[in-house]
Symmetry: C2
Subunit: 501 residues, 2 copies
Amino acid sequence: MCPQIELAGARGVQYPLRLREVWVKLDGRQGSGTMSVKQKLTKEETLQLRKKHIGPSCKLFFRSDPLKIVRAAGCYMYDEKGCRYLDCINNVCHVGHCHPQVVSAAVEQMSVLNTNSRFLHDNLVLYAERLTSLFPEKLNVCFFVNSGSEANDLAIRLARTHTGKKDVITLDHAYHGHVTSLIDISPYKFNHPGGEGQRDWVHVAPVPDVYRGKYTDKDFTVEECTKKYADEVKQLCDKATKLHGGVSIFFAESMQSCGGQIVYPPGYLRQVYSHVRAAGGVCLADEVQVGFGRVGSHMWAFQTQGDDIVPDIVTLGKPMGNGHPVSAVITTREIAESFGATGMEYFNTFGGNPVSAAIANAVLDAIEKENLLDNATKIGNFLKQEFNRLKGKHAIIGDVRGEGMFLGVDLEQYVLLSNDGPYRNVLKFKSPMVFGMEDAKELVEKLDAIMTEMEAAENIVTNGMEKLMVNGNHDPRQQQQLTNGHANNNIDAPSEIQVKV
Amino acid sequence: MCPQIELAGARGVQYPLRLREVWVKLDGRQGSGTMSVKQKLTKEETLQLRKKHIGPSCKLFFRSDPLKIVRAAGCYMYDEKGCRYLDCINNVCHVGHCHPQVVSAAVEQMSVLNTNSRFLHDNLVLYAERLTSLFPEKLNVCFFVNSGSEANDLAIRLARTHTGKKDVITLDHAYHGHVTSLIDISPYKFNHPGGEGQRDWVHVAPVPDVYRGKYTDKDFTVEECTKKYADEVKQLCDKATKLHGGVSIFFAESMQSCGGQIVYPPGYLRQVYSHVRAAGGVCLADEVQVGFGRVGSHMWAFQTQGDDIVPDIVTLGKPMGNGHPVSAVITTREIAESFGATGMEYFNTFGGNPVSAAIANAVLDAIEKENLLDNATKIGNFLKQEFNRLKGKHAIIGDVRGEGMFLGVDLEQYVLLSNDGPYRNVLKFKSPMVFGMEDAKELVEKLDAIMTEMEAAENIVTNGMEKLMVNGNHDPRQQQQLTNGHANNNIDAPSEIQVKV
């Protein structure tokens, strides 16, 4: 989750524009009574106790004035004063905060049995059957774990065991999780403060971003971009083969989230999978952030690249339990058998317990019964259309992209203090899937107003505004890159860095 | 969790004695009606669906006839036919299966808010305050995660960042988790089938087991054993310093669980911590299995080694949420600051969410209100006394050890098909903490009967029974070692290996 709208202008001016404003403070009723939640601590006391007892590496949204959220429902969150916020960024509470049927399913199972998967239980196997039925046929074996990080780590182990190789190909700016093995394959982490740099078994391919990447649609056709990006992966396969005898896995999100809401050009995964498999490797689709229908047109984002695109391993996480810690690895019988054949057991204490399975099942129920894929398509299309309209109106918007409820607005000349994307300039929209049309209209209206306000302020503050352009490069796409480089480490974290020019 | 009582006699005879028997089948009522849970699948259907969709590396208890458990309460579990089992091994459902107040706390919070820790929330900070108040003062900073594996991985990262060193000292037979970095420091895994052997940055110290270890109380005084075991760690510190310039962390459970319920001799941690700190390393207590009062006398097992024993990092897991995926790392301000100073954020999507914190808090309530530490001491002492009585009666019992509800019965000349301990010969008792006196009496009675039955069967089957002794070694402690070596990989897994002699 990344907060979206804390901006600094080109000259380091910080606007008092915050996520909370764009999330839309719908009303300002102070402690309206109904549904209010009694607080044990004042916000200041909560903050001080947090500073005392929670590791400083765990960041809050908005360091200068964090939000204290006390309750939530659907796509609304409420602070301690009863103020309501429209949640545009929570990609975990997928079917809506505190979805009643999900809560009921949890309660019902928690009251009856919650134990480990060493015992037979219907919830586990019925959910596994249902989940795998949503995938291409060959993806029919599950491993249940607690988090996307556990899933991605296990995926590496599966791939290495199956292929007998160690090398991993990852995409630049990628983030795959917080455990040691995943920081090693996340350029977003290892290339940034506190990172240890690139391991010799990790190979970083450029993100197939045709707007701001290595090959853009300014210089090439999209087909040429696709081939060039895929060929880069092929070269890395060759390199891995030369260095270490082969490649184990191509590890990529099906659309890149933390890297800036990047949708790959058509054919990219087809060509890449072909190269990787020719080199003896397997292909992974990390659907932790983009799965479960977020893209609207399909349940899984890899499916947007064609019906013939079938990864060897898929990892799931964040939205799977609507906030409950449950995640999964889905793979082929062949890979699962290779892993089983070593004789090493895989045991995950909480993974696949009856409560986690009941909750995950209720989430699928909600997605289906409430037609949330259709909603994602409808709202996503509307928002894309409106963001494009705003693009015509506001020079700040350079690109609008994404699918369904996975949308990115790429900004020029502005740096998001609460960032995302390698250049800290992408507004990400990834709300709960129950986001409605009225919510969407309100979001657009507010965004429009904020951008208008910013532009006015910009003009007032500096008439002779020093342009961000440096090195004589006048393409706005390149400016951020040159100015801010890869300064962004805090994938999901707000850090109020001022950008001085 | 390890099943306990599936035994093969010395000659490979398998006894029809199973965990379920020692768990005590309290009654055989078929579908008694009350509290019965409607099943969607027959047991056979569940099993077949599991085979189809769950990775074969995920093992069931009792491969030949797995248990289907459909409900549980307190320390009882019920199968699909309504048969009741006394749970002697579930160290996760700490305050009792489906504890009503824990379920209530979950429900209450789930209905109101469940979101990530980027927002301020009272549950997180109040729980952190309460949890750290249970530790020595300097251990006052928390990181909340989902599993013991996530906690232990983070602990390695903290230690490496703080010390600037990479090397880890671990104990032989140790198991610390299922992610890549932890398999690397778990001899239980890396030395066994599917394992990749020992990394050059991992150093394995012998388990300070004075009964069956490298130095025993047969050859030395306990004080001598302590010093010899601690000196082995010192030698590894010297080795790590020589090889790689230092040691980052001494990584050990406070009592060794999967290694066979080993209680370290007095003074061991004091001497080891002193050696490790002198070498510039930090000391970790893995309390994932032994924490939260299981040892009865103290909340944390490291405390049994003396009030002056203060680890630099403690990891918590399994019992913390009574089955809900919540775990933690507790460390010093100094180490947390070192980690924070790198600038790399630590974000855990589900870790420390309001629901996990509410559940963990309710577990502490139950531990306190129900005096479960006192219960662990009372029941544990009774069981130890009774197991010792059985030891006098049955030659099969070689050693009885442990504290509170962490007990081990070390068996001679028998191999547990559903194992534990490096030689597959340790019966482990680690029930929910609500185990009662009547339950304890029933367990002892059943165990006595089973052992009597086994001895009788042994005598009937072979008069001229070939003794297990090989190589002229007549010390029963050594027999298993010589015969079975380190064949045991499946830490928590039943595998019906027949031992042929």
